[in-house]
Amino acid sequence: MSAKKTPIYDEHLKLGGKIVEYAGWLMPVEYEGLVAEHEAVRNDCGLFDVSHMGEITVKGKDATKLVDYLMTNDISTMTDNQVIYTLMCNENGGVVDDLLVYRYNENYLYLVVNAANTDKDYDWILKHMDSFEVEIENISDNVGEVALQGPKAQKVLQKLTDYDLNGLKFFHFVDGIEVAGVKAMVSRTGYTGEDGFEIYTDKNDIVKVWREILKAGEEENIKPAGLGCRDTLRFEASLPLYGHEFNDEITPLEAGFKYFVKLDKKSDFIGKEALTKQLEEGLKRKLVGFEMVDRGIPREGYEVYKDGEKIGHVTTGYHSPTLKKNIGNALIKAEFAEIGTPIEIMIRNKPCKAQVISKKFLNKKK
């Protein structure tokens, strides 16, 4: 199967975007350069094409009931126009996907899932809907989405809409407003650790929104931003990426996302039994942050050692553009997870010294 193009693809070419294949999509990894785009988002704002993300709607009398059964977070206590982050687990507690749930109302939930997992998620949901009165639809091909992120995001977006964005709280959304003359759904969400918005429209309208935002943002030094800096930004902000910090075999507890696993919520959910058991027995491995002591940049997949014994692997690693340090996340044996523990990262067959630190890389700076 050949890679898909988002409706904004031609714009990326015009802007000099370097195109790579990601999760079955042809996406811009950078335009001017990863670091410049990263800094634009931290200091001003950047605009991402995230039309590759999947959207699945769940409608009907049992919509909330079904989604609550599928998710680790508590969906039953959500309010209308609220967004929450949650994990969807399998029976063993491994993660099927991490996603956002948008609640229009009790009978209408809108799920935004990872591009690479859209089909898997859709099948998973269909497989578990039997006893529920719901209609499930994968509308990914009809939706265009951009993410405007950074401290100047509100100022830029406000130029294009009459809706007062001061009224839109973090992790809330509003639908049916006009952005650049186009009917849109807008949420105050993102994947960068900065303030920002995600804007959803019909796929045919998204190019107009993309162009108008870039134009409106000129005075604020907006930059089109690629997947390259999307990954460094989310990593610095301790936001996990599916396939790295967790997957079908890594549980949210091991990855340190217990906050999003509501074991005491009213209704049962898939994975509850396994996760409860894991918590009782104690975690055998944990996701940690670490900083290199020796020279060298840690990369995903590098092995982690302690006194000659392999204790885990790096899930994400970078030379952090904001902190100018070589840092990473690693999933390692729990007994070595304490902050301050010296560990070694195997870089090109050489053991290089590192130290466990807090995963909250950015917060440490403040």
Partner: protein, 127 residues
């Protein structure tokens, strides 16, 4: 993309500049451009010996690490230590900033490398 005349080139985008029995080795302009902002260069040690094709150094941007393969066999006699503190020199001028100087083991290996003209056609085909 800049290609300098008088150097030897590899398909992995390294260049070789011969100086008697010695050679300077670096990465091409095309290579630095593809990598983007270079933030780290892992240099070999002086006196290390390598066979043609061995990964003998690494150049890393924020997003990726790329091995540098030695285009000809030889012993490292000098490394460009300026790259330790300022890896971005490779972005500024990849031909001016060599990575290592080696003592050639077998000069006939040079015949297997590309000329600047060959490398230019190779780049066009790769596009």
């Amino acid at each position: 993309m800049k290609v300098l005349k008088g150097l030897y080139y590899t398909e992995d985008h390294e260049w070789v500049k011969v100086d008697g029995n010695y050679a300077y080795i670096g990465i091409t302009d095309h290579a630095q451009h593809n990598l983007g902002d270079i933030v780290y260069v892992d240099l070999p040690e002086v006196d290390d010996e390598f066979d043609k094709g061995d990964a003998f150094a690494a150049v890393e941007s924020v997003k990726a690490a790329a091995d540098v393969y030695i285009p000809v066999s030889g012993k490292v006699v000098e490394v460009n230590e300026e790259l330790i503190d300022d890896p971005a020199l490779l972005n500024a001028d990849a031909f001016e900033n060599w990575i290592a100087k080696i003592e050639l083991k077998d000069k006939s290996e040079l015949d297997e490398l590309m000329s600047s003209e060959d490398y230019e056609s190779f780049l066009e085909e790769e596009e």
